[in-house]
Subunit: 377 residues, 2 copies
């Protein structure tokens, strides 16, 4: 098994994580390594759910309580979470570095954030608030495979907290809320024929030109919420046609991915996509709501104050929305430029890795004048 050294520098740890390939569905090796490393931390209780790993600071028993009791004088618990998987490689493995940046698959999205969380897990042995570290599988694929979804379904107790921090890349700032995601298959029909006589059929791939051109010509909306601008988008992410090398295809499926502002519901997003392609069969395969930025919630506002950053809108969907669905305030805060996520040239600045580790470590260990989570229910 690959061994991770949590006493190493956060940049070295990021490279070590990048160098363990972990495309969605193939996280066993990296989860084994993370689990083994965390088992070495005496102040953490470690559990495994599939290829996700959860490590919690053990509550201190208050003076006079029975040994083994679950009460604690830490009046709050915070989740610090990151996903272990990446999109497929694009010639960007293994990792490289020039000292200032770590380059490689997932460096930005989001092994840099995972490295920060692992460093905090290993070094913050006496936090002022209890911490639940969650390292999970299958974030980059369909929602029903998402490791956080599975934990919420099988072990909801593990996710109980007053605030969740997703260490998704946000340029070491706070990105608030997130956009919703809708995925749909647009099917263009035709009629099969032998390619020696294509005029006897109807070529569905030729017809799909109109769908793709409409996507190319589409201009997405921009929606302002709490002063933050959410820029929507609509992209073809897959095109599939083909029966055999000498057959005019009778079907061409264009899969589209739509990001919509958190003020819009999945049903509204679906109606919008259907209105764009009224003459085709539209099959919605996934539609998940976003999360409103919620800057007015005290749990979020206090973290924003403590980190002294100006919130920005999160355009991509993140599991912030999953915590929002559980009623838990959540933000994105992590190293790396989110615009580099899923690009072949993605990297994470070493300075941001260090900044996130330091500032979040300070917040987790500094005494708080007043309870952070005064709106916790």
């Amino acid at each position: 098994m690959i061994s991770l050294d949590l006493t190493a520098d956060v940049a070295t740890l990021t490279r070590d994580l990048v160098d363990i390939p972990s495309e969605s569905g193939d996280e066993a090796r990296i989860a084994d390594a993370v689990e083994a490393a965390l088992q070495g931390c005496a102040h953490l209780a470690v559990e495994r759910v599939g290829n996700s790993v959860v490590a919690r600071t053990v509550p201190r028993a208050p003076a006079g309580s029975r040994a083994g009791g679950t009460r604690t004088d830490r009046h709050e618990r915070v989740v610090v979470a990151g996903h272990l998987d990446t999109v497929p490689a694009a010639g960007n493995l293994p990792s490289t570095t020039d000292g200032d940046r770590v380059h490689g698959l997932g460096a930005c999205d989001m092994k840099g954030g995972v490295a920060v969380a692992l460093r905090l897990a290993a070094t913050v042995t006496a936090p002022v608030r209890d911490i639940t570290y969650v390292f999970y599988e299958c974030e980059e694929v369909e929602g029903d495979r998402n490791g956080l979804r599975r934990i919420a379904a099988e072990r909801p107790d593990l996710l109980e907290a007053g605030l969740a921090i997703l260490m998704e890349p946000s340029d070491a700032g706070i990105e608030a809320g997130c956009q919703g995601v809708l995925t749909a298959d647009i099917t263009v029909r035709g009629e099969r024929a032998h390619t020696a006589r294509p005029w006897k059929g109807v070529n569905a791939a030729h017809r799909a030109a109109r769908v793709l051109q409409r996507l190319a010509d589409h201009t997405a909306e921009r929606v302002v919420i709490d002063g933050l601008e959410y820029r929507e988008s609509l992209s073809a992410v897959a095109v599939r046609a083909g029966v055999a090398g000498n057959v005019v295809p009778d079907e061409c499926v264009v899969t589209v991915n739509h990001r919509f502002a958190p003020s819009r519901s999945p049903a509204e997003a679906e109606a919008y996509i259907r209105s764009l392609f009224p003459e085709y069969a539209v099959d919605v395969t996934e539609a998940v709501p976003g999360a409103l930025p919620g800057l007015g919630r005290e749990a979020v506002a206090s973290l924003v104050r403590a980190l002294a950053v100006t919130p920005r809108p999160k355009l991509g969907w993140t599991d912030v929305a999953r915590f929002a669905g559980l009623g838990t305030p959540a933000v994105n805060y992590g190293p790396g430029d989110p615009a580099l996520a899923h690009t072949a040239g993605e990297y994470v600045p070493v300075a941001q890795l260090r900044e996130c580790e330091t500032r979040l470590g300070d917040w987790l260990t500094a005494p708080t004048p007043a309870p952070v989570f005064d709106d916790r229910t």
Copy 2:
């Protein structure tokens, strides 16, 4: 193993063949059944090459010759050939019939023709010309998997003949020559990005709209040779794009299939396709020449006279071109409307099955006034 009854009516035999699924690459079962049935014919020498089966009438030793000699008083040999494979099923299995037509996958292309050849192999025990029956695999896919190509490479002696008759569907008429085939991948490039920020990349699938629209708008040429009109064509047969559900794809590959008149060389066809798509990477994966109709060759002309039919141009590529490459005159002559090949509703008329069996059987058994193959070299 499935058993074929060669004493059954040709329509029944066609249904039996349709009901043995044999998509290209999966011909073992049908080849086993054909081989076993032919082994039961004492006048045939049967050999197997991969999943292709060759059965030859055994040359009669002339009076006074040594037993086992290879000389024969039949002064000519003709190949009767058909492929055993089909394109993928399209909800058209098992076979059905209304008495006048046999419906089902491959009924037209070309299990009807195979049934006629199998009936002739079983019943024509004393032909006036030696016959080589060839039932072969993988005609519907890339040329390098073609069973006839493999026989020509490994056992060229098995294909020696003065004339070849391909029992491809030709409406029980003679279709002369065939068009060439070119297959090419047209690759449209883009740049990956996260779908939450597609404006950071370039969507290759959106860009492919131009390629598909150009194909939709394309008008192919018509070329007249020996009085026969060859109508060319150009079709997308596959479109492939897709990296992951949340990644803007950086590549979209459109595979095109081009049928070109036999007067054009593969190199000319390639130059033509490149001229249509000058701004894209064009990778030619297959380019095979057609075959000129060759109506002036005596071997072809004599068969045309014997069957009393008017030749038509063959638009699809058939292995006629392979025999043309070996220097052997060849024609398409078989039951079924070629326009129905590869359509979900393909069928073969029972009357054409019977007509082909009778007329070809008569030609194979009737004494010929003069040698048919006076231009054989």
